[in-house]
Symmetry: C2
Subunit: 217 residues, 2 copies
């Protein structure tokens, strides 16, 4: 029997980590490694930062439009963080997984929790990326610009809030070596695609074996 992706429901691959732990780089590498992977572009009500492209980095929405989409059950998950709304639009995800494509989410613990506990929970893979140290994380957060101590301290607190949820993910990788972490991530994704629940073709195969058995008995 050859690779049969017919009838397969795509996997929801969730990557979470505090910012600065390497999550964006790992996401990019995963998407380069497997072009069939679809990336879930989050929606947000926060203003675009310089260089951010609407529809690519985020879907930038007005608060009204965001709330309407939530009310219409159009968000797979959403949360309110530091005065802004963030969410994962449902339609593109459903389209992808129904056609058998896996979807990658770069979201925080609140979003991860909502998806894992949704009706799609059986089809998720959740991975948390931990930094090797806080000193290193802080260095990366500071290195990003000329921010005030206050801003840095706020970011540090947010990072810690995120880190504190590592214990509810399927896999947790300490990113002390980006290449090694990426290898581990690929192994995890490859194995998870082999899980029984991700292989509906097995049901057909078992049915075939049963018919054969009845004929031969």
């Amino acid at each position: 029997m050859s690779e049969n992706t017919n009838n397969r429901r795509g996997l929801l691959i969730i990557l979470s980590s505090p910012s600065g732990a390497g999550k964006s780089t790992l996401s990019r590498r995963l998407l380069d490694w497997d072009p069939s992977l679809s990336f879930s572009v989050s929606a947000t009500t926060r203003a675009p930062r310089p260089g951010e492209v609407d529809g690519e980095h985020y879907h930038f929405l007005e608060e009204d439009a965001f709330k309407r989409q939530v009310a219409d059950d159009g968000m797979l998950e959403h949360a309110h963080v530091f005065g802004n709304f963030y969410g994962s639009p449902k339609a593109p995800v459903q389209k992808a997984i129904e056609s058998g494509r896996d979807v990658l989410f770069d979201i925080d613990w609140q979003g991860a929790q909502q998806i894992v506990n949704s009706s799609l929970g059986q089809h998720t893979l959740s991975v948390f990326i931990l930094p090797p140290s806080i000193v290193e994380l802080r260095r990366r957060l500071i290195g990003r610009g000329q921010d005030s101590d206050d801003v840095i301290s706020k970011r540090m607190q947010k990072s810690w809030d995120e880190i504190s949820h590592w214990g509810s993910y399927d896999y947790v990788l300490v990113n002390d070596d980006l290449d090694r972490t990426f290898e581990d991530l690929k192994t995890i994704v490859t194995a998870t695609r082999l899980r029984r629940l991700q292989q509906p073709r097995l049901v057909e195969h078992a049915r075939g074996l049963q018919s054969e058995f009845q004929e031969l008995s």
Copy 2:
């Protein structure tokens, strides 16, 4: 942080399949691939077949001795099949997993079910190997010797009973290409070793991050 197997509890890797589907070959390959893997030698009350070595293929026990070991809570799982008892002695498994070594089990669905639902259930990985077809399976069962139709028919029924339980395993592989199946099996074992629950070092790492965070805040 380098590979740290300190404090790690070993994984119980369960392989099941009807006989003739390639399970023994796959077990042997896994043990060759990773010499740190420990193999759980089953105990049985059935008579040794020609060439079978006590302590290597099975621990051959008298029925009294077997029942005493069950009564002393010395079997991780046990079952009665075709008039003989089969079981997995607990002591060697506990010794291996407490020292951080993974243990491979070549057992049937009854044994798998008992281990997965035991207190060690969180530390199991269960894989079922399906044959590509029943015709092929039958060919292999017949090919083994000059058995009567009755014996073959009994074996076929036993194979089907085993196959019918594929749906309760974590992973199910259709063994239509031994090399490919072995590659998938290695990927699954490698990924499962990375599961959060198999990485107690994460608890220490997170504790370290917390101390650091408190110092830096």
